[in-house]
Every structure is written in structure tokens, then in C-alpha cells.
Symmetry: C2
Subunit: 381 residues, 2 copies
């Protein structure tokens, strides 16, 4: 018998009561029954996004919602600034170029966060830029971005702030209306504890004005059409009905926990993971570590191949699935996720499997030092 | 207690064994476990599409796959012919115009199928047209299109045949490779007996060549990127993992039934429904009725409001959900679906509820005449 445990940045583990919802018969979307369910989901989403705006539900994964934002807000020839701190920042650039935008890219060293002075300088040098596109937490490197600072700069300079919160909403405190975030996005398979297949997107009044003026081609991702329908608890196209059904349950669970507990839990799990990394002598990769996931460097004595082995052994021998580095970071970092349906014992289990894998590869590890550090940090905070 | 029964053109009812799959823990997509499952699904899809081509799985509903085809195959300024026989034909036109294509539209009277002579005349008058976009079965009117004839004309004139088979694949015999269909599309919530959220798309070698030459903007729907990944049992973006997991079960069921039984079953259910309509004195709306769903005219004595009442009473009083007409056909037709996880007793139940609703509205009906006709037609065929 081997139990499989997901400590991955999406999909994350799904609560049993949510899984049970998926075994119920499907309902038809053009019915009052669906509309009543969708209304509850919409209300939960407003709570989660901390906004009075309608939060749109799109039947696609997060990348689709990123594209819907770019195609929705801009027209060919428009200029945007992209904060490229990793694979997901790079995705903003690629999507923007696909739609003929002119991209001013702030290319960060992997693992680093963006400096607000650097951003302001770039804004001042490019006064025609319409928006800044960025991640709240860059999942490929584990770096936290200064969301409030970025949004404040955008407001001061009359630019839209477009925030990929795919792995951040429900983990970090991102009060959309209070801070004035213009576009905020998340996906179902992240903090929302659902399978992948839905993404969620909210826009400020300013952003909606930009949408009304955009001339980029889109049909499936036509946000004005979606808004019109979703205001009446319907969707432009057949939606992911089963995920919406499960979402009423999973978001209900989050709401019961409460926003401040939710943010505290994730902050605490991050602290436990960082303490374990330190106890195991593993260096943090990011200089501004995110509460979403903790990235650690593979021990310097390890080759890239050995680095990949850690993840492989954890998965194949111990059933604990984590992710490693992507692209040029393959075999060089480990990404330890601690969000979604995740508590201190899940984090401890991940660290336990990491200790075993390191020991298997001959790394000098005192078994229990990492897991002990998790418990100690848990108790202290 | 009220049982709810779906006799709708998507979502259709989902088999219990498939629903049970959705209650299982989710797996991570970047694992060999996922790749092994996806390989089985891909193999089932090739069988279902009757093709040797890779059938792509996209995490969006059918409209997304239609857009992926248009954005994938063409460049702004290209010309296409659209067979517009209803709401879904019209969708081809709208998507094509969104991408700056020049559209030659064959606008059919609602309920009619396209004449091959009419299509050939239009092709001859527009020799620069690159493709003909059409539905195999126009779900808004219940009209069956002459797919083989359309495809033959396209081949003869060097045009691509782009077939929306969303409510046709797995119901009608559409041997993609044998007939030379260039693009074939379906969706998860149709004959595949899954919740909505995935669509499936296969292309001929000729169509892939067109994809390589296209200059239309797309990112989430980048088919070349998907092909490259799906050839290795991976996807460009996080896929709808849970639906893929369920799809292994539901497509396995279809495969066990076998293609010829599948097509025979649907043909038989259509015949039963048409017999019931005749017995109840309800006129067929389409002059070329589809085996997918049967559209009947609301009795001529009924007002549009009374027409809408039939569907409403069936749903609210009897729990049987059918669909009525859309847009200008609202209150004028009823659409009785008989595909997916559907057998003769489901069809009989739908007809039984229709008889009761008609009687409730004062229509002269001999209770049991429709259901009897279903059983009689079943026995005779």
C-alpha cells in the first residue's frame, strides 16, 4: 500500500467532502437550480477576492484567464510593463506579444522580488504604458512580490495593475477593493481546493472601461459577454458545472475558516517549512520567500541529476509529490508547497519524506531534525 | 421526492460509475501516473474519432475548440464558407469575423439542411475560399447535415472541411480518416457522458499544414504547442485532470458497446421519438431530422407563452428537463434529446412527461399513445 500525497502548487489535495460532491448527478446549467448554486459561488468569490465587483468564472485554467485579461484590456500597439520574475512572469510577456502589445520587461534575477524604485524608474521612462502585469507570488521561484507597493505606483501614475494571483488569492491578504487592484485572477486547483478547469477573474471599474475600448480579437474569452450573463447567474458558454458544484462546498469551507485564519495558517506553514529547511542545512532560493511555497536550493554537493533524484525518490519511493525547478532551474531547486487543504502534519510529512530521500542519496541528515523544526516552529507561532 | 432527469443536448446524464471516479483523490498532471491515464484516453479518442491522428484534449468547452480551430487554421483576410443552419452555424460566422476572416455565409431556413448543389454553387462562385465550416448536426434546430457530401465537395475543390461534431461524434458515424474530414471537434458533456469542461479536436495532415501557416493571435489555444506536448502524453497548460480521469471510464464504456451498436442505439432512439411525436400529433420541425435530438413544433393552437409552459411544466412538475427553442424559436419548438447515457426507457419517460404536460395544458392527448409508440417502434426496429 502506498498513499499518494500532493504537496504541489496545483492541483493541491481536495477535501473529501468536496470530492463527494463530484459523485452527485450533474445538473443542467440553464435551470434555476444552477442559478441558485452559482449565486452562492459568486457571493463566496466576492468574499474571497475582498471585492464588491462581480468575480467572473471562466471555464479554462489560469493561463486562459491571463489571456482573457490581455486580450480583454488592450489593443494591438498598446504598451505594458511586465514584471518577469520567472516562468509565470515570462508568460505575461508571451501573451502580451501574441496580441501585438509593446512590452517593457523588468527581467528579475530568478528568486528575486521586484524593487519598487526600479519599477517606478521604468514607469517614469515609459509614461505611455497602460498597465503593469505581475504575479503576486511567482510560483516558479517562490518569490513574493510587493503587491500593495506595485498597485500604489500604478494608481499614482494612472496605470492599471493586473495581478496574477493564481497561487495567491486565498493564501495572501490581497484586499482587491481596499488596495485598488484593477485585475485579480485565480484558478480552481490552487487555494480553492478544486480540480483544475475553472479560473476566476475580477476587474475594477477602471479596468472594465479599458475592456470596453479594447479591439483585440476574442470570442470564448469575451469578458463583456460573460459579465452580462454572469450578472444574471448565467454564463456565456456551457460552464464547468461540476466544479462550480464542488466550489460551493470548498469555498464554504474556506469561508467558515475565515480570511484572517486562512492567511495566518499559510504564513505559519511557510514559517514551519523555512525552519525545517534551515535545520536541514538547505538554503532558501528566494530572497523574499512567499507564504505560498518555499523554494530551497539543492545541496551544493549535488549534481543536477542528483537534484532531480530527490524529487523522484520522494515521489516514487515515498508517495510524496513535490515539484522541482522548471526550465533552467531543473535539478537545482525544490519547491515545497504548503497551501490549500494543507495543515502542519502535511508539511511535516513532506519534510519527513525529504529527510528520507536526502539520506537515501547520502546527504548527511539527522533524521527528525527537519520534522522537529516544523513542530517547534508550529508551537512557537 | 422528485427525481431529476436530463434529456438535454449537453450536459447529458452521467453514468454512476463515471461519477464515482470523480470522488477519487486527484492526481498530479506532471507524473507518469497521469501520462499513463492520458495515453488510454488518447487511444479511446482515436477509436471514437475513427482516426490515426492525435486527438487533442483542450480544457474548455466546445466553443473554445471552435475558436481554437478558426484562430488555428486561418489568418486575417482569409475567406471561408459557413453553413449557417442555426445558432451553432451562426457561431462559426461570429468567431470567423472576430478573427478578421471574410465569411461567405449560406443562411438556411431554420430546420433545413444544406443542399449540396447550393454549396457547390457557392464554392464555384468563391474559388479563393479556404474552408467550409459546418455542423454535423445543428443542435438548435435538430437538422442533420450531409457530412460526407460536404467533405467530398471540399476535397474536390481543395478546401478544408471543418466539422463541428460537438453533438455528433459518438452518435453519428463520422469516420474521420475514411471520409477525409479535415477538422473534427467534440465536447465532454455530449456523447462522451462527462461533465462539461473539456473539448476534443483532431486534424488531418492538410489541416495541420494550415495551422503551421496561420498568423492569427492565440496562446491558450495554441494547437502546435498542444500537439507537441500531447504527443508526449502531456498538455501545454494544466488540464482538466478529473474529467480526463472520468473519461477513461466513460470512453471505456462506449468502446465496450462498440461503434456500430452506439450508432444503432441512437438511430433507434430517434426513430422511437419520431414515432411518439407522430402518435401525439406533433409535427417534426426539421425536414432532415437528426439521430441526435428530435425537434417538434409546439401545437399550432398554442401561443409562444404556452409553448414555453410545456418545457416549464415538464421540468418543474415532473423533473424531466428538456430544452425548448433558442432566440427566435423560443416557445415554438421542443428539443427532445436522446443521446449519451440514454436508453429506450429514458426516451419513454421523456415522452410520458410530455404527454402529462400537454394534458395539463388542455391539449387533447390519449395518455399512453406516445409512450406506446416508443415501445412499438423499439420492438419493430
Amino acid at each position: 500500500m502506498k498513499k499518494i500525497r500532493l504537496l504541489t502548487p496545483g492541483p493541491t489535495a481536495i477535501p473529501e467532502s468536496v470530492l463527494a460532491k463530484f459523485a452527485e448527478p450533474i445538473i443542467h446549467h440553464r435551470t434555476s437550480l444552477f442559478e441558485a448554486e452559482f449565486r452562492i459561488l459568486q457571493d463566496h468569490l466576492k468574499w474571497l477576492f475582498q471585492t464588491k465587483q462581480l468575480v467572473l468564472t471562466l471555464t479554462c485554467t489560469g493561463t486562459g484567464a491571463m489571456e482573457a485579461s490581455v486580450a480583454g484590456l488592450f489593443s494591438p500597439g498598446d504598451s505594458v510593463i511586465v514584471v518577469n520574475g520567472g516562468k509565470f512572469g515570462e508568460r505575461w510577456t508571451k501573451i502580451s506579444k501574441t496580441y501585438g502589445l509593446s512590452v517593457e520587461e523588468i527581467l528579475l534575477e530568478r528568486g528575486k522580488s521586484v524593487g519598487l524604485q526600479e519599477l517606478e524608474n521604468r514607469i517614469l521612462a515609459n509614461p505611455n504604458v497602460k498597465a503593469v502585469l505581475f504575479q503576486a507570488s511567482e510560483t516558479s521561484t517562490g518569490a513574493l512580490m510587493p503587491v500593495k507597493g506595485i498597485v500604489d505606483l500604478c494608481k499614482r501614475h494612472g496605470m492599471l495593475s493586473v495581478c496574477d494571483g493564481i497561487t495567491a488569492v486565498g493564501i495572501l491578504n490581497l484586499p482587491m477593493d481596499e488596495w485598488g487592484i484593477d485585475v485579480l485572477i485565480t484558478g480552481s486547483q490552487k487555494a480553492l481546493m478544486l480540480p483544475p478547469g475553472l479560473s476566476f477573474l475580477a476587474m475594477s471599474d477602471r479596468a472594465w472601461k479599458a475592456v470596453e475600448a479594447s479591439r483585440s480579437p476574442k470570442y470564448y474569452f469575451d469578458l463583456l459577454r460573460e459579465r452580462k450573463m454572469q450578472e444574471k447567474q448565467q454564463t456565456a458558454w456551457t460552464p464547468g458545472i461540476s466544479l462550480i458544484h464542488g466550489g460551493v462546498e470548498s469555498l464554504g469551507m474556506l469561508r467558515k475558516e475565515g480570511l484572517s485564519s486562512l492567511f495566518e495558517r499559510h504564513e505559519k506553514l511557510a514559517r514551519c517549512t523555512r525552519a525545517a529547511a534551515e535545520a536541514l542545512g538547505l538554503e532558501l532560493f528566494s530572497s523574499s520567500p512567499s507564504p505560498v511555497l518555499t523554494t530551497v536550493k539543492v545541496p551544493s554537493a549535488f549534481s543536477v541529476d542528483q537534484g532531480k533524484q530527490i524529487q523522484k525518490i520522494m515521489q516514487e519511493k515515498y508517495g510524496v509529490i513535490i515539484t522541482g525547478g522548471q526550465d533552467e532551474l531543473q535539478g537545482k531547486i525544490l519547491r515545497l508547497s504548503h497551501f490549500g487543504y494543507c495543515d502542519v502534519f502535511d508539511v511535516m510529512t513532506g519534510i519527513g519524506a525529504l529527510e528520507l530521500a536526502l539520506a537515501d542519496l547520502g546527504y548527511p541528515v539527522t533524521l527528525g531534525s527537519g520534522t522537529g523544526a516544523v513542530l517547534k516552529a508550529y508551537r512557537e507561532t
